[in-house]
């Protein structure tokens, strides 16, 4: 017992690292369930409005770039791979490898946000941001323009909340990288990395659903 509690990574209220790891993992999953419900509300709104205004949603969706959306999907899946590999290296006690893969994850996250930034600025330029300068008269009839505004409002709300989660994840990654370099974790105690991974993969999953729902609808759509 005294030998176990002497581990600096073990909090005193846990029996051992195994129990601590399990509790931390379940706590993270409980938090992720609340996150699922948070994004679930947005997906519900999307489902209802798309069901009501399918044509305006299809036409508006065609204004998004499939190439940028698909490219970012690949980037984000790649970042999930490097995140998983950073834990894989930690399990082998190779903390230098862990840092390398965490930095790669951070870089891929930055690439995603830069592409997203270019997409957003294009939308501002093309008057596709709901607000005073919103103008979809080029492709929507006057009576359906408000429905196009709904699509773009949802586009910015959903991708914006997703991007905010990316930014928070990247700040967490930075802190984690610093701690790994200071030697806080080892092959016996890497639970913090596991939690980081759970969060990062969750954000990846949200994008896996956002991409087809926002970018890929109505690609074969033709006016009735």
């Amino acid at each position: 017992m005294s030998e176990l509690t002497s581990n600096p990574g073990l909090a005193h209220h846990f029996e051992d690292l195994e129990q601590q790891h399990e509790s931390m993992t379940l706590g993270m999953w409980a938090f992720l369930i609340t996150e699922v419900m948070f994004f679930g509300g947005l997906f519900t709104l999307y489902a209802i409005y798309r069901w009501q205004y399918p044509d305006a949603f299809s036409e508006s969706s065609n204004k998004l770039s499939v190439l940028q959306g698909a490219g970012n999907t690949v980037v984000l899946i790649g970042s999930s791979l490097t995140m998983a590999l950073s834990i894989w290296r930690a399990q082998h006690g190779d903390m230098r490898g862990t840092v390398r893969y965490l930095v790669a994850t951070l870089l891929l996250g930055s690439v995603f946000l830069v592409v997203k930034g270019f997409e957003y600025s294009h939308k501002f330029h093309d008057h596709l941001v709901p607000g005073a300068h919103f103008d979809v008269s080029q492709f929507l009839m006057p009576e359906t323009q408000a429905h196009g505004a709904l699509f773009f409002s949802l586009y910015f709300a959903m991708t914006g909340m997703h991007a905010l989660h990316m930014v928070i994840g990247m700040v967490a990654l930075l802190i984690l990288i610093k701690r790994v370099r200071r030697g806080r974790y080892s092959a016996e105690n890497y639970s913090a990395l596991e939690l980081m991974g759970l969060y990062w993969h969750f954000v990846d999953i949200v994008w896996i659903f956002l991409f087809p729902l926002l970018y890929l609808i109505g690609r074969t759509w033709t006016p009735a």
Binding site: V74, S80, L81, M83, W88, Q91, H201, I205, F209, L216
Partner: protein, 99 residues
């Protein structure tokens, strides 16, 4: 801690499958499947999400309690979307004003 340690190839195979499914969903979007387009896209997305949950998030090698937590999140999501969307869609079926 005595955790299951997977190989590099294991993670690369999951990654490759995710890339193939991404290509599949883009390809399918440009084929006219009519009313089946969205179900096809969602089936591919669910498959991708499941791969990430089971293998990247290590649920596959986790204890039953972790499986339960992951499943609970999905169950509550189904209730949230299913019941709300079901209500909207079924308006007007039995004489109530349609939305």
């Amino acid at each position: 801690m005595s955790h299951n340690i997977s190989s590099l190839g294991y993670y690369l195979r999951v990654f490759a499958t995710l890339l193939i499914l991404t290509a599949a969903t883009v390809g399918a979007a440009f084929i006219d499947f009519g009313a089946f387009s969205t179900p096809i896209a969602m089936t591919i997305a669910m498959t991708k999400g499941l791969l990430v949950v089971l293998f990247f998030m290590h649920v596959w090698h986790s204890k039953k309690l972790t499986w339960l937590f992951a499943a609970a999140g999905f169950l509550w999501l189904v209730i949230l979307i299913g019941m709300t969307f079901g209500d909207i869609v079924s308006r007007g079926w039995q004489g109530q004003p349609a939305l």
